[in-house]
């Protein structure tokens, strides 16, 4: 009986593996577009059809894979890291999280909205029960946050899961800044007792979800830093007037 079971299950799995992978990549693309939801020209990332998401992504979003020193990676190098397809969208953040920090590769999505450009970074960290991750969209000054979207692997509904289920949570991050006036990297903190709207470096936390909120804060602090080498390199090219 076990052999029949094994055959049936592996048959179904292999038969549907490709479509499942496609489904997963479209799900991730929607999450990335949700980070810039205000700038999609009136479209809603959740309501767009699968083909529309793919087409929109291909035309308007440039994908770059980076390593920890800020160097762009070629498609071949991404494939060698274990991701068939070679593009940034294929990088599995959970898999990267298991590697030692220096060896990770990270995706960067540059969304061209016509009048402005947005840099969408992906960060991953630890929630209370399992991984939490998010896509943070930065404006072209690479300092102000234009939007965010979060997700989790197993947080408690109503508490930690609010980072995804509550639409007002990502909105708190809009217009917050990650560098202070002296140019120091401070990231955005989540304040349990509430943060003043005028404070550009803090947002309200989540009642009853201390560990998840701390996880989000740590994830932002560490995750955005991974992109600093690349950002510094393009800031200097921007200053000298050369567009990348």
């Amino acid at each position: 009986m076990t052999s029949i079971v094994a055959l049936v299950l592996s048959g179904l799995f292999m038969g549907w593996k490709d479509q499942s992978a496609i489904n997963e990549s479209i799900f991730n693309k929607r999450a990335i577009l949700a980070a810039v939801s205000d700038h999609l020209g009136g479209k809603d990332a959740q309501k767009m059809g699968d083909d529309e998401v793919n087409a929109f992504f291909d035309t308007n979003v440039k994908q770059i894979a980076l390593d920890m020193s800020g160097t762009k990676l070629t498609e071949e190098e991404v494939s060698n890291a274990g991701y068939k397809g070679g593009k940034a969208e294929h990088i599995d953040m959970a898999k990267e999280k298991k590697k030692p920090e220096e060896e990770r590769i990270i995706p960067l999505y540059i969304f061209d909205a016509g009048k402005e450009e947005f840099y969408i970074v992906t960060v991953i960290g630890n929630g209370l029960w399992d991984n939490i991750w998010g896509n943070i969209a930065l404006k072209s000054d690479l300092n102000t946050i234009a939007g965010a979207s979060f997700d989790h692997a197993g947080e408690t509904p109503g508490l930690g899961a609010e980072i995804k289920d509550n639409p007002s949570f990502p909105k708190r991050f809009k217009e917050k800044e990650i560098y202070n006036d002296d140019g120091e990297y401070v990231s955005v903190a989540l304040k349990k007792t509430g943060a003043k709207p005028s404070n550009p470096h803090a947002v309200d936390g989540i009642s009853g979800a201390t560990v998840t909120a701390n996880g989000v804060e740590e994830m932002l602090w560490r995750g955005i830093q991974y992109y600093e080498p690349y950002f510094n390199s393009i800031k200097t090219t921007k200053k000298s007037g050369v567009r990348n």
Binding site: M1, L9, F13, W16, S20, N23, F27, G158
Partner: protein, 239 residues
């Protein structure tokens, strides 16, 4: 002394949907409901029911798993060595649940992401194992299948009732997350009843946040048990 006549034993072809089958389908919906009367499978009823659409998918998954695991177990019931009985049942249940997961991953990915852990937990759902032990191991395949489907439907009915109440009062919408979302009452113009509109009669209305937490499901199920026992004459004195 009267003669004892030896009637020829005639094998009667049992009807496919006779009285017994109808009873097997009807009982779990009310008189022998897995959640409110047998009190099995309450865990997932608490966790999944905050929104209606995932509960609906969960209910269909449980009906499928319960029905077919009962069917397959009943088919091989006489061939399972008693020492490995539970292990074999577990393999059957686990296979079916894995099939459900693979189907969801292929055809309805967003729901798969929303329900990740809970679909896997159908394996531990007491209703499935409970029906296998109580019925499928001792009854014929078709009857076991119908019993499994019936119990799955009973579970599904309770799930949907709880989910309707929780989503409506906790979020003001129904079927959020599916293509047919109905936004009924809330604070923005997308909703059918806009509580923030000028001169709205419902300006005082705010979503009940307790309904979003699993504890609310426990209260609602408690109330359902109470209501059911008060009105159903067969259940009035059983505890």
């Amino acid at each position: 002394m009267a003669e004892i006549l030896d009637k020829d034993v005639v094998k009667v072809k049992e009807p496919l949907f006779g009285k017994v089958e109808k009873k097997l389908l009807k009982d779990p919906l009310n008189d022998n409901n897995p959640i409110t009367v047998q009190v099995l499978g309450v865990c997932s009823a608490l966790a999944v029911t905050s929104v209606v659409y995932p509960s609906f998918v969960m209910a269909i998954a449980v009906v499928f798993v319960c029905g077919f695991s009962s069917l397959f177990t009943s088919l091989i019931r006489n061939k399972i060595p008693p020492q490995v009985r539970m292990i074999v049942q577990l393999v059957i249940i686990a296979t079916l649940v894995t099939i459900v997961e693979l189907v969801l991953k292929r055809f309805q990915y967003p729901i798969y992401r929303q329900l990740t852990v809970y679909i896997g937990l159908i394996i531990t759902n007491c209703i499935v194992m409970g029906r296998l032990e109580a019925f499928a191991m001792a009854n014929k395949p078709w009857r076991s299948f119908v019993d499994g489907i019936g119990n799955g439907l009973g579970y599904g009915a309770i799930l949907l009732i709880v989910a309707f109440i929780r989503e409506f009062f906790g979020k003001g919408s129904l079927f959020a997350g599916s293509g047919l979302e109905m936004k009924i009452i809330g604070g923005s113009p997308d909703y059918f009843i806009n509580t923030m509109a000028e001169g709205s009669w419902f300006g005082w209305y705010a979503n009940n946040n307790l309904m979003v937490l699993p504890a609310a499901a426990m209260f609602i199920i408690g109330v359902l048990i109470w209501v059911q026992r008060s009105y159903n004459p067969k259940l009035v004195d059983i505890s």
